[in-house]
Structures are given as C-alpha cells and as structure tokens.
Symmetry: C2
Subunit: 319 residues, 2 copies
C-alpha cells in the first residue's frame, strides 16, 4: 500500500502545497482511495499516474472547505472522462446535500452513480482488501479519522521449500502464489502448502482535523502508521488562542510516543511555515518540536511525497 500526498497545507493553498488530499494506492492493480478532496485535488492528480476510473471510494474527514471543495470538480471531470462505475463517498451527511445542490445549480449530470454513506452513522466500510473503521475526533465541526485495517494479509511464497523440492521458478510459482493448485511432474502441488501467512495485518490511521490526539488511543493499538495534522508549533498555537481546533507537533508526537507508534507522518501545516528557512517560520520548527517528543520514524509530508507500507509493515519514503 502506497500513501501519496496530494495536498499538505492547512486552510489555504501555497505555491508549493495544496490543501488537503491523500491517495491510498493498492500495491496490486490500479485501485486507489482518496481521503479528503480540497480544491484542485483533481489538478494534483494530473501530475500522478492515478486515474479517476480506478478510484474506489472517497472518504471525507469533515466539512471544512479545505477538505472538500475539490469534490464537485473532481466528480465532473470523472464524468467527462466517461467513468461508469458507481462511486462511494463516505462523508459527513451535509456533503450529500451540498453535492446535490451543486449538481442542480451547475446542471451537472454524472454518468455514474454516487453512493453517499454518512460517516456519522457508519462503524466500518469494507473494501476487498481493507476494512475501514471510523473514529470521531475533536474539532470545531464533527471530524473523523479513518483506520484502514488489512482484512487478509497477502501471503508470501515459501521459496525455500519450493527450491528444496526442486519446483522450478516461473509460471508455476506465480500460480501457487495466486492460490492456484498446479500439477508438476505428475503430482498435484497444493498452493496452501507453499504459502506463508507470516505478516501481521497492516493498519494505518488517517486523522482529520483534531485537537485531541488521545482520542485515537485505541485506534492506534497495533497500527504501523498514524497520519495526523500538526497545524502549528506550540508557540504559534498559543498566539492563535483557544479553540483553534488543531493539534501542535508536540501534541501529536507525544501521543505517538506514549502509544508506541512505530511511524508518525505529520501533515496539514499552516501556510506560515515555509520550506525556505532564511527568515520567518520554518517547517523545521515543526520537525524539531515533534522530534523532541518522539523516538519513532518521523515523516513530514510534502505534496507528492510517496510512502510505502510494505507487507511486513515497514514504512519507507519513495520520493
């Protein structure tokens, strides 16, 4: 499973960071999922190999514009590209009414069905390879995290055993890996005898805007990755005053440390943090604040950052 960031800025876009959007990409085939859809998410997709034909479902964390204003344009473009497959949209209930109002206003006819699922009344959503749980968070509006749990970890081939038994590499191995029994030298080889289910199910937790990371305590048990907003450093959050509804880098990192999370990915940075560090606030301020509280693998997302969660649960940066 790959994690591809399409937008990592909070509230407004910058020249180098779009507002929130994240693609989860299956390792086999072309299927992918979209989590949040800020304005111009479809524009970001033009710079990837992802197709709107292969989009399996959209998950929206909350109704703020920087997480959903890209939906109408993305749906319209999917329609103009000729998508026919129904598209589930798991989102706060208000999104359904808004999309319908948008379609009516702009006379947008879609050649595919939208299947709206209100996240408020959903406990989990099943995909062929993942069960997606929902977890309520704390923000100025109802906000949710999505926990992707691998339903059936993919087995690996017991290549040592195959070699030991002199079964030649090639198509035979491929079929055994796919669960297909084969005949070799007159005897039937049962796929299940050559598959190893040694990997724990993968699990990643993707938060929406949230000022109480502790709400994810249970959800993060056994998770390999938490992707969470870190809008501010503590200093700036204090200046911004109460009720910002967001977490600081320190908040999230301390939570991840206490929970024993092996990998923490921070995103959704206030535009005041710049990549260039010559003057003003820098993303390094966020990194340093988090690193001071957390001993696991820490990643700060950038637009088009691509991370790979391997079958064995290791997270590595590809780009």
């Amino acid at each position: 499973m790959d994690i591809l960031f399409l937008g990592t800025s909070a509230g407004t876009p910058t020249k180098t960071r779009n507002v929130t959007g994240l693609a989860l990409i299956e390792e086999v085939g072309r299927a992918w999922y979209l989590i949040d859809c800020g304005e111009a998410t479809q524009h970001q997709l033009l710079h990837t190999s992802l197709s709107l034909h292969d989009l399996q479902a959209i998950f929206i964390t909350h109704v703020h514009g920087d997480h959903c204003y890209g939906l109408p344009g993305l749906l319209a473009s999917a329609g103009m590209l000729g998508r026919k497959e129904p598209l589930p949209i798991i989102a706060p209930a208000g999104i359904e009414h808004w999309i319908m109002a948008t379609q009516q206003m702009s006379q947008l006819y879609l050649p595919f069905e939208l299947i709206f699922v209100a996240v408020e009344s959903l406990t989990y959503w099943d995909t062929p390879r993942w069960r997606v749980d929902t977890i309520p968070l704390s923000h100025r509006v109802p906000s949710f995290a999505y926990r992707f749990n691998e339903s059936q970890p993919e087995p690996s081939l017991d290549s040592e055993k195959l070699i030991r038994e002199h079964i030649p590499r090639g198509p035979l191995w491929g079929q055994l890996r796919k669960g297909i029994d084969v005949i070799h030298d007159g005897r039937t080889l049962r796929s299940s005898d050559y598959l190893l289910f040694r990997n724990a199910p993968r699990c990643l937790v993707i938060g929406g805007d949230n000022d109480r990371p502790g709400l994810l305590s249970n959800a993060c048990q056994g998770a390999q990755v938490l992707i969470h907003e870190a809008t501010y450093t503590q200093e700036i959050a204090a200046k911004a005053g109460k009720d910002v509804g967001h977490s600081t880098a320190a908040d999230v990192a301390s939570f991840a440390q206490a929970t024993g999370l092996p990998n923490l990915v921070l995103t959704h940075f206030s535009p005041r943090y710049q990549t260039a560090t010559n003057q003003g606030l820098s993303l390094e301020d966020l990194r340093n604040e988090a690193a001071a509280c957390y001993e696991g693998h820490l990643f700060l997302a950038e637009d088009f950052s691509r991370l790979r969660l391997s079958k064995t649960g290791q997270l590595t940066s590809l780009a």
Copy 2:
C-alpha cells in the same frame, strides 16, 4: 488595462491550462476584476502579483462548473487573508443560493459582505472607470457576455503646450495631469487647459460560452477587443454532434472579420488540443482555422498570457 488569463481550458483542467478565469487589471493602482472563477483560480493567482484585497468585483458568465467551482475556495481564502471590503458578485441568480448553501455546509464565515447581483436582471454595472454592460448569449444554460466600456478616457497632458509656456516638468505637471489647478510664477494654471481628451473610450467584450457569436454584433460595434471561446475546430465540432453549445474557431473569426474587430482573442480550448504538435490535435489547428477567416490581430490565449490594451486602444502581448 491589462488582460491576464488565469485559465484557458474548456471543461477540465490540463497540466498546462486551468479552467476558465480572467483578470482585468487597472493600469493605475492595484484594482482588478475577475471574470469567471473555475476551480483553482485562487491557485493561479498565487503565481501573479494580484491580491484578493484589491479585487473589485467578480463577474460570472454562466453556471457550468468550469466557470464557477473556484468561487467558494477563493472567497474562503479572501476571508482568511482578512479582507474586509464588500465584494460584488455579478452572476446568474443560482450562484447566490449555491454560495449560501456552501457556506452553510462548510460553516464558512466571511469577514466581508458579498453583494450578489443577478445578471439576468442587470443591464449594466458601474465601476469608477468602466461601465459594464451585459449581453445574453446562446448556450446550454443561460450565458452572458460582459462589455467593459471606459466611462471617462484618461486624458493625456499637452506637453507641447507646457514646454512652449516654459512650465517646468515635475510635480506641477503631475498635478495638472490629476486635474488639479496650480499656481506658477504668480498665475493660476487651469488643469483643463493642459489636458487632451484625444483617445476614444476603450471597449472590450468578454464572452461566456456561446454558440452564436452574431449575438455580439451590436456589442462589438466600436470595441477594440473581443475575447471569445473557440472550443473546437469545425471538424471536431461536427464529430461532437449537435447542441455542444460552443463556437468553432471559424465561427468566431468569421464574425470578427464581418464586424471589423481589430483584435480577437480566442480562449476556452478543448483539452484535446495540445501545445505539442507531434501527434494528434494541436492548438495550431485552431489558430490556422481562425487565421483563414480573419485579417485582424489574432491572439490565442495561454494561461498567464498578459495583454495590454493601451489608452489609444492598441492591444499588445506582454508575455
């Protein structure tokens, strides 16, 4: 007056062309106007020197998403940047309801007032320097052109006369140019005696989507510039079938030729026309088709093309 294209693609964005948006920029001060606001118009603005604080009004030609889906995000960002000035939005009536529904759904509070003006019942809109007329067009939904007419052409200083009368260059000239009478060598110089109103009022016509350019016949009398969609060549329009609601390059160019328009700017190109001409359809096909019908100055817009309409009514390309 400068014309800055923020998006020149029809229907969907491409890697190099955004959906429709166009800025008209006053030559004095920082004031500007936005005509249409496709998704990610605010993103395009980040690559210009234009500020949402200086935006005087937004004009929307019609309700299709590629002309208005960028409004919510642009308004939200203007709010987050602290805009206080009221903002007039001249648009089809459905836009007002949709923006209100969007604000309600996403709990978007704006610190400035939106002044909605339904284009259907408007004959003209006045700005300090331009009177903007509306002209109904022909499209699948009600669509409008906006004709910007200079209310009071800016005078030029009669520098020959000033030199002849030995009035020294500098602050005195500047005040006379601004319409201020000054005292020099004990005598009062009246500004009006030194100003020349020799330029005809400038006029530019900006069309929305439209399959009958002839509807702009009256509006284009005396206009220096027509900016009009040319979504297809004739060949592709014929393949697309009836009721596309759009003009071909030949349609618009023939109209401009018949009307004697000195400058024609084509925009809103189908994404199937590419800049690279190695294979498939090319923008040069559109240019060639138009050039075969039109003898005036022909421009094909690109994103961030900037054209200047001088005080004397000449149109030149700046970028």
